[in-house]
Symmetry: C2
Subunit: 200 residues, 2 copies
DNA sequence: ATCGTCGTATAGCGCCGTTATAACGGCGGC
DNA sequence: GCCGCCGTTATAACGGCGCTATACGACGAT
């Protein structure tokens, strides 16, 4: 059972070739960021030639789109691997911690997912992730503990935790910095309440 | 009095050449973002050849550093062109609005200033801008109206407004979106108070 | 008048993303 | 059992990129 990457492309199925290309792309991304993700270097690692990549993915942007989809899959796993607290507000706070955790563990992936230089419309995987956050916020609202509209609060929560995460990744301050907790706590304190309120 | 850009490099002084290069870089950046900023295209616009650029700036990264300095100068002007409110908390809120305004008016510049792909240590101009925010926060603290340490609150404020701005620029929602005000208001409401408190 | 230095130009290297063209190989029709 | 088709892969090249070895011209010091 030889290693996949050492086989020439002709000796394995197209699906395996696709997977080898994406795996090499992931490696290069993690190693050198978006700038280090070169088609030719990728080809050398995956044992493939450029036209093969273009046959399977179209162009580099589309290849990166598929790579981003894989990133979001791993991102989702960050939230499903462990069980969140039962209390919906605590679940949100727990989600913030997982979010920041993912960004710090995979900074190059995070940049690609949320700060891609060439603007693309969000992929289905990205929208699904955002929807998961919205459902968390809706759960707080359903408990009568949200102090703003669900849509607006969702956007606000994401803004805040994204701001913290991207500045952490950029190295502007260290992981344990008090500002991180300060932002998350402020958003939760302001947009949720401790006890349920029955409107109407 | 002929236009500077139409002159060949030999017919003007080195300082004018430097300025022409930076001006062309600014134009290209605004037009096509970081990806559109190519040395060769820049040379064509500035009436200059590549070695001249490298003679004056060293390499592309250093050229971009100088360009970023110019961006921060314009960024600072955003805050000094108009007078902020006298009340320190209102001045902070006013600063948030100017910050977001700048990001929306110069998205490519903002990306370069705060989301450069190849991490560089902050330039002096960047540190000066951050210090201006810290002084604003310190003024709130001096009035006995800050509920956290100056350093931490400064970092938290910046995180929040940066998160909002970068997602606005990325097009994830529109300028008037309620989330923008929601985040800014939440941070101010949580980290400042309306009346002064004399500790000790 | 000569020389050195500073600013600029010519021409080229090696890398990039991308593609025109062609060769390989499995699979259905005869 | 052979043939031709078509999906997949390879060879080789194009134009553009950042960058640089080298050379040339103007100008001040001697």
């Amino acid at each position: 059972m030889p290693a996949t990457a050492t086989l020439r492309a002709r000796d394995r199925g197209p699906a395996a070739t696709r997977r080898a290309i994406l795996a090499a792309a992931e490696t290069l991304l993690a190693r050198g960021g978006e700038a280090g993700l070169s088609i030719r270097e990728l080809c050398a690692r995956a044992g493939v030639t450029p036209p093969t990549v273009y046959h399977h993915f179209g162009d580099k942007g589309a290849l990166v789109d598929r790579l981003v989809d894989e990133c979001f899959a791993e991102f989702d796993r960050t939230f499903t691997r462990r069980r969140p607290p039962a209390d919906p507000v605590e679940a949100l706070r727990w989600g913030f911690a997982r979010y920041v955790e993912y960004g710090l563990a995979h900074p190059a992936h995070y940049r690609l997912m949320f700060q891609r230089s060439t603007a693309r419309r969000p992929t289905a995987a990205a929208l699904a992730s955002y929807d998961r956050l919205r459902r968390r916020v809706a759960a707080i609202d359903a408990a009568g503990r949200l102090t703003a509209a669900v849509e607006d609060a969702t956007a606000a929560f994401w803004s805040a935790v994204h701001g913290v995460t991207s500045l952490l990744i950029a190295g502007f301050w260290k992981p344990g910095a008090p500002a991180v907790a300060l932002v998350c706590n402020a958003m939760i304190a302001q947009l949720t309440r401790k006890e349920a309120v029955h409107v109407r």
